[in-house]
Structures are given as structure tokens and as C-alpha cells.
Symmetry: C2
Subunit: 365 residues, 2 copies
């Protein structure tokens, strides 16, 4: 492993956190999550779950029956209601905005259908170099203004109970969908496109980076307290391809997003933890459940917050097992510079009381 | 990372290789693959590709149209013909028997349908503790005798051109299918079963280990020169669960399979390379493309052969890029104690000339 531990480290953004105009952090009644991101000592680590406002919640399923997917994403009142469901029912220490990473390809003009049993299907996937090079920037305020409205409505409803996390897909992961046109085991069509037309791929990735930076900065101005970048398909790339098609864009996002901490989740890219820690301005790295706490800490060093990494399937264990494992996980990660979370989104078949047991186990640590 | 480098190491089985009654190795005209497994110096590393007798070959597709999947697996003449297709057309240094890991669940009485666009569907997946505990050993010679006939027919057809590799699914991966009933993104049903009924899960895993040992030993007696164990879903497990549900069974297989080298492929279990190298009797570890050569060597040490790990999607790159990358991959792994392969099975959409370019690039190294 290349050791970066002796190189000069970027200043971490959390150092700037309290100097920024985060007017809305003043009235937060629970700031455990932000403290953990800033590296401040906490009595216990904060906890939230990726996709915590999702299909395992009966209250969410009722709204899913009434409104289609993008109506749910685009209606500020529904965004606020859905985002707050787990806060009321499960009690995590942070809320994550209800939305989807595919709102960005949609803003770029790709229409998307959510097919049940299949997932998202994009109508006009990128199939040629020309099509890729023809992609033009978008005015985020105009095309994604509804997200900022959703953020304001959500913060009103949260009323300072917990911080609100904004998010975006990473450029590499968005390119995967935009070229492949739908979910895939290996996204080999998307990868082949990058290998055959690297120039066009970098054009798309660079454009997506510009949009992501604008989008996350707009979310922060609208009131989110931190942002997370989901590179869900990072692990499909080997280390060299990750350094070519993912890393430079993640790096730029952490440099150009201002005013709130940035959390990176490069799922499956265990090999990149060291680089992501030392060569980006991320405040935290979210990790999946294949990475042991000791390995993660060794690779990432001690000056960055780690988030994760309970195996989502493990929430299907009996409740006493969940309790024991959460305690042991916190013991291994340590209570500071650590945010308890899953290693990926919560599964739809998790019983609500298991999710609650997970959160409660952290609270009683 | 726990350092095992100072612990006493198991004697590697390749040391015994030439003492065993591998009568059929005498007449091999190309023994590069076996030399690499035994750690002997070679002029260039051997090369083969997982799923090299697969859907990217037009000659295979013709046979696929004529015979259904299990007919192809169960007819010795077809097994021999299909196994030899890539030897004739692409020229790798080893043949891998045409078969499927699911022949074992089939031998255990689970009927399986190969549904196009879906993959394998098992008719009676294990859904209860009682059903799991009721599983009984099988007589491998009787239930899987057709595989041994296929091996003999294949060796006749190969006529010593290259060694023949036998294989089996690993117990954990077989359990995944036997409980989940079909392929899955996360095999969360199978994992939940293990978490809820660990006793029953270990009964199934132990029984599958017994069968796998018998099965691989029978393959070796029938004439394969080495065997590979595919733990395709190892990477769905975190390190602790891997050590509980996968590792002990892989370990036992390497101890109880005699007379030929055993190669382990625990896909996605990068975190286990060190344990797999030091705590099993594997002759080689096959690795996926997320593991850099330097990391793999550092974790596995220098006394074991490594196999892999070109990204299968990378075969969709332009041919000159494939050539350059193969050369660089061999430079990084080193020519000895290394078998060139992909990091997973070849994809159906790979052009034949790209597969051939991959093999040729190794031959001209």
C-alpha cells in the first residue's frame, strides 16, 4: 500500500465549519452528528441509516401507494413529510433529505421511469460519443429548484430536532446510469463506453462534477447541514480505473463545495480509503461492511471521521444479536470521529423494530 | 491488519504434487499452469479465462441453441466438446471443465430451471430450519458420476495439449442459492437464514463441505490436474461473517482434497487474502480486479501463487489497450507464482478477437 501518511494533508473542511454562515445550526437541539463530523468529542456516537425514509416503513409505503416516485421527490410537502417519518418513528440523530440521485440526469433531459421489479429505466441512454459531447450545463437553481424548496420545508418541519443531510450521486455513478440506461450487475456497457471513448466520458464526468458542485452548494444555501456524495458503483472499478474515472471528480467536489462538511461514500472502493482520506477535503468517509474498523482506521488515519458500516442484511438478525453487534462495532470504531450507520441502504424487508433496536442500541451505548 | 506472516505456515500441497499418482500429468505437452501452481520458474506466466467456454463464443452459442443447459453439463461428449472450444479457438494454457456449480444442489434433490433473462431458479429453496436439518449426504459417485465421465472424455479429446481444471462451488455460495432460490443482488434471504438459524446453516455448510470434498477428490481421480473452488458470493459477507460461514469450510476443503493443487476464489473477500493464504492449504488464490497486485502480494505473501485479475469489462477496451494493460499487469504481479486470468468470468458481449488478444498478449510477454 502506498503510504500517504507523511504527505502534507489538506486542511479538513470541518475546521471551517463554525466560521461559515450556517445560521441554521444555531437552533439545533441535537448536534451529535455535526460534532462527530467536526471531530469534537461526544458522549456517544450519532446514528442514522442510509435510506432510513424507505420501503421498510409502513408509513412510507402508504405514501408510495398514493404518489409516484418523482411526485414524492418534487413536492416539497411530501419531501418534508417523508424525510421526517424515521425521525418520528425510529429516532436517528440526523435526517437525510428524501430525494434520488437520478434527479440530476433528469435535470439534464433524460426522462426516467421507475419500473416496479426493474428499477429506474432511462429513456435515452448515452450511446455515442457525439451524444455525450453534446451534453450541456444546466441551471441548477431552475432545474432542481424543487429540491431547495423541499429542504426549506423539511427544516421547518424538523424545527431543529436534528440536522438535515443533503446529497448527490457521484459523477461516476451517475454516468453509469446515464450510459447503461438502467441498473445492472456490472454496468459493462457504461464501462465499455469509458474505455472506448475516454475523451467523451471525461466530458460527461466533468460536466456532472460542475452540476454536482452547484447542486450541493445550492442545497447548503437552502439549509442542509452537511452533504453526502454517493458513489454507489465505485467498487465496479479497479484501483487504476477508479483513479481515472472517479477520484479526480470526487476530489474536485470536496474542494468546491463550501459551507458544510462533505461526506464521501465510495461503496466497494476499499482500496481507495487512503487516497480519499489524504487527497480530498472530505470531512468523513462512509464505508461498506466489508471493511473492518481497524483496516478503515489504519487506511484513513485518525484525522477524518468514519461512518458505517453495519451489514444491512444483519438487521435481519434477532434483536439481541443486533444489540451486541452494535456495541462491539462502536467499541472497535471508538466513540469519537465515528458516525454509526449501515454499510449500505436499509433493506425493504427489515422489520421496523429491528431498525429501532439498531438506533436504540447506539443511544444506550 | 493482523499479521500472520510469523505464524507457522501450512505445508503447501504443491510440494506433494509430484509425489502423487498423477499418472496423467506425464503426457502433458503444456505444463505452464501446473508449474506456476507449484511455484516453479516459468518463461512466461500461463493464461486462461474463467468462463472461457462461454457465451461470447459463437461456437458455444450454436450448442446452446441445440441442447438445454443441464443436457450440456450431463452429456460427456458435449462436456468434452464445449471444454475444448476455447482451446482450439483462443489458445489458453489450461482448460476448465464445462459444468456448473449448481450440479451439487441438484444432486441434493433441488430441481433447477435455467430461466432466460433470470438465471437459475431452484424449485424448493430451503425455507425452514427443519428443511435444512433434513438434508442428507449424497453418494457423489452415483449422483455426479456423469461429471467424472465428462472429465475422462475431455482428457481424451485434449490429448495432453493442456491441463484440465475441475471445480466446485464453495459451501457458502451454494447455500446462497439453495436458500435464496435464485440469483440476487444481496442474497439477503440466505443471509437472514444464517443469522436466524446458525445451527441449521452450519449443518448445511458442513454437509456441503463433505460433498464438495468427495466431489473434488472424485474429479481428481477421474483425471483433472487441479481444482478451483468458486466462492462467488464471499464478498457479500463482512470479515466476521466470512470467518464464521465461509472460511472454516474453505479451510477444510483444502485440507481434505488430495492429489492435486486447490485454487480458492473468494470473490470480493479482499479482506481475507491473508487468512486464506496462511490458514488454508490452497496452492493459489484467485483474486478479483479490485485488488491491486502489490496489495495482493503483501497480504498473501510470496509462498503462494496468485491468479487474476483483469477486469472482465476491460476486455471491451480497444485491443491495443488490452495488450498494454496485460503487459503492465504481468510486470506488476511478476512472471513467477502468477497465473494470468480475469477477475471474474468473461462477459457474453466480449468480441472473440479481444479474448484472443488477451491470451496472445500473455504468450508474447
Amino acid at each position: 500500500m502506498i503510504s500517504l501518511h507523511d504527505l502534507p494533508r489538506y486542511d479538513m473542511p470541518q475546521n471551517d465549519l463554525h466560521q461559515n454562515d450556517l445560521h441554521h445550526t444555531d437552533k439545533l437541539r441535537n448536534d451529535l452528528y455535526l460534532k462527530a463530523l467536526a471531530g469534537e468529542p461526544v458522549p456517544r456516537p450519532p446514528v442514522w441509516m442510509m435510506r432510513q425514509a424507505g420501503r421498510y416503513l409502513p408509513s412510507y409505503l402508504k405514501l408510495q401507494e398514493k404518489y409516484d416516485f418523482f411526485t414524492r421527490c418534487e413536492t416539497p410537502e411530501l419531501v418534508a413529510e417523508i424525510t421526517c417519518l424515521p425521525i418520528d418513528e425510529i429516532g436517528p440523530d440526523a435526517a437525510i433529505l428524501f430525494s434520488d440521485i437520478l434527479v440530476v440526469p433528469r435535470a439534464l433531459g433524460q426522462s426516467i421511469e421507475m419500473k416496479s421489479g426493474v428499477g429506474p429505466v432511462l429513456e435515452n441512454p448515452i450511446q455515442s460519443e457525439d451524444q455525450a459531447l453534446a451534453l450541456k450545463p444546466v441551471d441548477v437553481a431552475e432545474a432542481l429548484g424543487y429540491v431547495m424548496k423541499g429542504i426549506r420545508a423539511t427544516n421547518e418541519r424538523l424545527a431543529g430536532r436534528v440536522p438535515l443531510i443533503g446529497f448527490s450521486g457521484a459523477p461516476w455513478t451517475l454516468l453509469c446510469y446515464m450510459v447503461e440506461g438502467r441498473g445492472s450487475k456490472d454496468f459493462s456497457k457504461a464501462k465499455a463506453f469509458c474505455y472506448e471513448y475516454p475523451h467523451a466520458a471525461h466530458h460527461v464526468l466533468s460536466l456532472l462534477t460542475d452540476i454536482t458542485v452547484d447542486y450541493l452548494n445550492a442545497q447548503i444555501r437552502a439549509g442542509v447541514h452537511a452533504v453526502q456524495v454517493f458513489d454507489s458503483w465505485a467498487g465496479l472499478l479497479g484501483p487504476d480505473d477508479f483513479n481515472t474515472f472517479a477520484m479526480p471528480y470526487l476530489q474536485r467536489i470536496t474542494e468546491e463545495v463550501k459551507g458544510a462538511p462533505v461526506v464521501l461514500f465510495a461503496k466497494g472502493a476499499w482500496y481507495a480509503l487512503e487516497l480519499l482520506s489524504w487527497q480530498t477535503r472530505a470531512a468523513a468517509l462512509s464505508i461498506d461492511w466489508t471493511v473492518g474498523p481497524e483496516y478503515a482506521r489504519q487506511a484513513a488515519g485518525w484525522d477524518i471521521t468514519l461512518q458505517g458500516n453495519y451489514d444491512p442484511s444483519r438487521l435481519l438478525s434477532p434483536v439481541p444479536v443486533i444489540r451486541d453487534q452494535v456495541k462491539s462495532m462502536i467499541d472497535r470504531f471508538g466513540k469519537d470521529r465515528y458516525i454509526v450507520n449501515l454499510g449500505h441502504g436499509i433493506l425493504p424487508n427489515v422489520p421496523v423494530d429491528h431498525a429501532k433496536a439498531f438506533v436504540d442500541a447506539v443511544k444506550s451505548y
